[in-house]
C-alpha cells in the first residue's frame, strides 16, 4: 500500500545538556556528560541529569513552565493557523507528580497537562495524552505520523515531558536500577541507569514545505509487547524484535538498509542485554549503535522524542554520536556499540524504546 509521506522537523529540546537540538549535538560531539551528583531532599545523593537552574525551571509548577517553554519554541517556528488541521500529542509518564507530593492528587492527573498544552497552543481540540512507560515519546511519534497517514490531521505537534522528582528517583532506587556513577549503557561494568529530565518536541506534517528545519522522512513505526514480565524485559528480546521486524516490513527495509541505531540503552543490566539480543536476532549486529542516556540521563516520557531528534540532526551532519560512558562493550548479543563518534554510512535511523509493562516501540526515519 502506498502511504502518504510524512515529514519531521522543527525539533526542540531542553535537558541537562541545555536547550536546542543543535546545541545538544554540538555539546555531544565536543564535550562530556551533563550528569552530576545531586542531593534530593530526604533521599541519598545520586547522579542525575538536572536541567540547569533558571527562573523557569525552579519552584512550583516547573513541569508546566518547562512544557510552556518547549511548546512556545515549537509554535514560534511552526506557526500553526486556524485554517489548518493540526493534532496535538503529548507523551509523559508522570506529568506533574510533584503536585501529589504536595498533597494535591487532583492536580497530578495527566489530562490536566494536556489541557495546559491545548491552551498554550490556542487550539480547540485537546492533545492525545499518551503514556506508555519509557516508550511514551516514541509511541507518541508513531501515533502522530500514523494519524497523518490515515487522514485524521495534516500536521501534528508532538511533545514529550518528564521531570525529576523524589517520587520517581526513590522508585528507581528501590529497584536497584540506579548506577552510583553516570550510567554506562552497554558497558561491561554498567550498574544501572541515571535519571534525567527533559521536554522535547517535533513538528510532523504531510506537507514537506510546511516543516521548518526539515530533519527527516517518516518510514514507519511499530509497538509490540513482551507479554513476559511487568518490570523486567524479555530475556530473549521478544517484544523489541517484533517491533523492529514490524517497522522494517512497513518501511520495506532490510537490516542492511539501517545506517544507525539509537537504542533505548538505559545502562541497566537487563535492558541492555535484552536489546543486544533483539538486535542480533534482527540481523543488526553490524549497524552502528549508540545510546544517549550517558549524556543527560533517562528522561522517561521525553526520551524517545529527544533522542530521535538528536540522532536525526547528527545524521544530517553526517555523524553517529558515540555512547557516552562506554569503555568496553559487555552485552550477550553481538552489537556494534560506538565508543567514538563515527561518520554516518547513510541517512536511515532505527530508534527504539522499551519500558516497564513490556512495551517496546521502534521507528525508522530517513534523515533529510
Amino acid at each position: 500500500m502506498q502511504r502518504i509521506p510524512v515529514w519531521i522537523g522543527a525539533a526542540h529540546g531542553i535537558s541537562a545538556l541545555g536547550e536546542g537540538i543543535d546545541g545538544h549535538v554540538e555539546r555531544m560531539t565536543s564535550g562530556g556528560t551533563a550528569l552530576r551528583e545531586w542531593s534530593v531532599p530526604a533521599s541519598k545523593p545520586l547522579v542525575a541529569g538536572r536541567i540547569p537552574a533558571d527562573s523557569l525551571t525552579e519552584g512550583p509548577q516547573r513541569v508546566q513552565r518547562l512544557l510552556d517553554r518547549c511548546v512556545d519554541a515549537l509554535l514560534a517556528e511552526a506557526a500553526p493557523s486556524g485554517a489548518e488541521r493540526w493534532m496535538l500529542v503529548l507523551a509523559t509518564t508522570k506529568g506533574d507528580i510533584e503536585a501529589l507530593e504536595r498533597g494535591d492528587a487532583a492536580a497530578s492527573a495527566l489530562p490536566l497537562l494536556g489541557e495546559r498544552m491545548r491552551r498554550r497552543c490556542g487550539m480547540a481540540e485537546p492533545p492525545l495524552v499518551i503514556s506508555l512507560a519509557c516508550a511514551s515519546g516514541t509511541a507518541a511519534l508513531i501515533q502522530a505520523c500514523s494519524a497523518i497517514q490515515q487522514g485524521h490531521c495534516d500536521h501534528a505537534l508532538v511533545v514529550g515531558i518528564d521531570v525529576l522528582s523524589r517520587f520517581v528517583l526513590d522508585g528507581f532506587a528501590s529497584l536497584y536500577a540506579l548506577d552510583a556513577v553516570p550510567c554506562r549503557p552497554f558497558d561491561a561494568a554498567r550498574a544501572g541507569t541515571s535519571l534525567g529530565e527533559a521536554c522535547a518536541g517535533v513538528v510532523v506534517s504531510r506537507d514537506k514545505g510546511r516543516v521548518p528545519r526539515l530533519m527527516g522522512r517518516w518510514r514507519g513505526g511499530a509497538i509490540a509487547h513482551d507479554a513476559n514480565h511487568i518490570s523486567g524485559p524479555s530475556r530473549t528480546g521478544e517484544g523489541l524484535l517484533r517491533a523492529v521486524q514490524s517497522v522494517s516490513r512497513q518501511a520495506g527495509f532490510s537490516s542492511a538498509d539501517i545506517h544507525a541505531i539509537n537504542a533505548h540503552g538505559t545502562g541497566t543490566s537487563y535492558n541492555d542485554a535484552m536489546e543486544s539480543i533483539a538486535f542480533e536476532r534482527a540481523g543488526l549486529s553490524e549497524a552502528p549503535l549508540s545510546g544517549y542516556k550517558g549524556w543527560f540521563g533517562h528522561t522517561l516520557g521525553a526520551a524517545g522524542l529527544l533522542e530521535t531528534a538528536i540522532a536525526l540532526k547528527a545524521l544530517q551532519d553526517g555523524v553517529v554520536i558515540r555512547t557516552e560512558g562506554l569503555h568496553e562493550t559487555g552485552v550477550p548479543g553481538r552489537v556494534n556499540v560506538l565508543r567514538e563518534d563515527a561518520r554516518a554510512r547513510g541517512p536511515v535511523l532505527l530508534k527504539t524504546s522499551s519500558g516497564f509493562g513490556g512495551s517496546n516501540a521502534a521507528v525508522i526515519i530517513e534523515a533529510a
Partner: protein, 200 residues
C-alpha cells in the same frame, strides 16, 4: 459488525453483554474481587495486581473465555490493546506516595504500577498478547479520540483489539470495554463504542 463483545463494571455491578453480576458489599477492592470470583478464573496473579490492572483484567477476561469468548481462539500476535482513562494510575500513585511519606522508603511493588500502561502489561501477560497498544489519558470517555489509535493498530497489522475505558480512584471503579474485529472495522462503529461508554 466489528464489535464482537462488550463488558462493563460500575462500582460492583459487572455486565457481560446482557448478563449481570452484582457485588455491592465491601469496599472497591472487595467488590472487584467478588466480580472476579464470579468468573471462576484460575489466575492468582490478579490479586497481586494494582487496582487499575485488576479492573482491566476483569473487563477483558470474558472476551478470552474458552467457552464462548469472542477472542478465545485468535492469534495473540495480532491482538492490540487500547486503554482510556482519566485517573490512570492515581490510585497506585497515592498508595506509593503515602508509603514514601509515612515510612520514608519506596516499595518496588508499589512503584511499578504508578504507570497507567502497566495495566496493558498485565493484560498482555495474562493472555499472551504480543501486539501493539497504547494508553490514552483524557478527562472523560470520548470514543472519537480512539479513532487515530484504532487506525494505528490496524496499520500495524492488528486483527483484533481489546479496547476500553477504565477509571478508579478511592472508592470509585468504573470500566467499559469492547472486543473489536479490526478487519471488519468501520469508523462509524465508534458510535457504538461511545454508546457503550455512555451507558456507564
Amino acid at each position: 459488525m466489528s464489535i464482537l463483545g462488550t463488558t462493563s463494571y460500575r462500582d460492583g455491578t459487572f455486565r457481560i453483554g446482557d448478563s449481570r453480576f452484582d457485588a455491592t458489599a465491601g469496599d472497591a477492592d472487595a467488590r472487584l474481587a467478588s466480580a472476579w470470583a464470579a468468573l471462576a478464573q484460575d489466575y492468582p496473579r490478579f490479586h497481586r495486581a494494582d487496582r487499575l490492572s485488576r479492573l482491566v483484567l476483569l473487563s477483558a477476561a470474558p472476551f478470552f473465555d474458552p467457552s464462548g469468548g469472542p477472542l478465545r481462539e485468535v492469534d495473540p500476535e495480532h491482538v492490540g490493546m487500547l486503554l482510556l482513562s482519566c485517573t490512570g494510575s492515581m490510585e497506585s500513585d497515592a498508595r506509593y506516595c503515602k508509603l514514601l511519606r509515612d515510612e520514608g522508603v519506596a516499595s518496588p511493588a508499589l512503584f511499578v504500577p504508578t504507570l497507567p500502561s502497566i495495566a496493558l502489561g498485565e493484560l498482555s501477560i495474562r493472555h499472551g498478547l504480543h501486539g501493539s497498544g497504547l494508553c490514552l489519558l483524557m478527562p472523560a470517555p470520548e470514543a472519537a479520540a480512539l479513532l487515530p489509535a484504532i487506525g494505528m493498530l490496524r496499520q500495524q497489522g492488528m486483527k483484533w483489539i481489546v479496547c476500553g475505558w477504565a477509571d478508579t480512584f478511592a472508592d470509585h471503579a468504573r470500566a467499559a470495554f469492547v472486543a473489536i474485529d479490526a478487519e471488519a472495522w468501520s469508523d462509524h462503529d465508534i458510535n457504538r463504542i461511545q454508546a457503550h461508554f455512555d451507558e456507564q
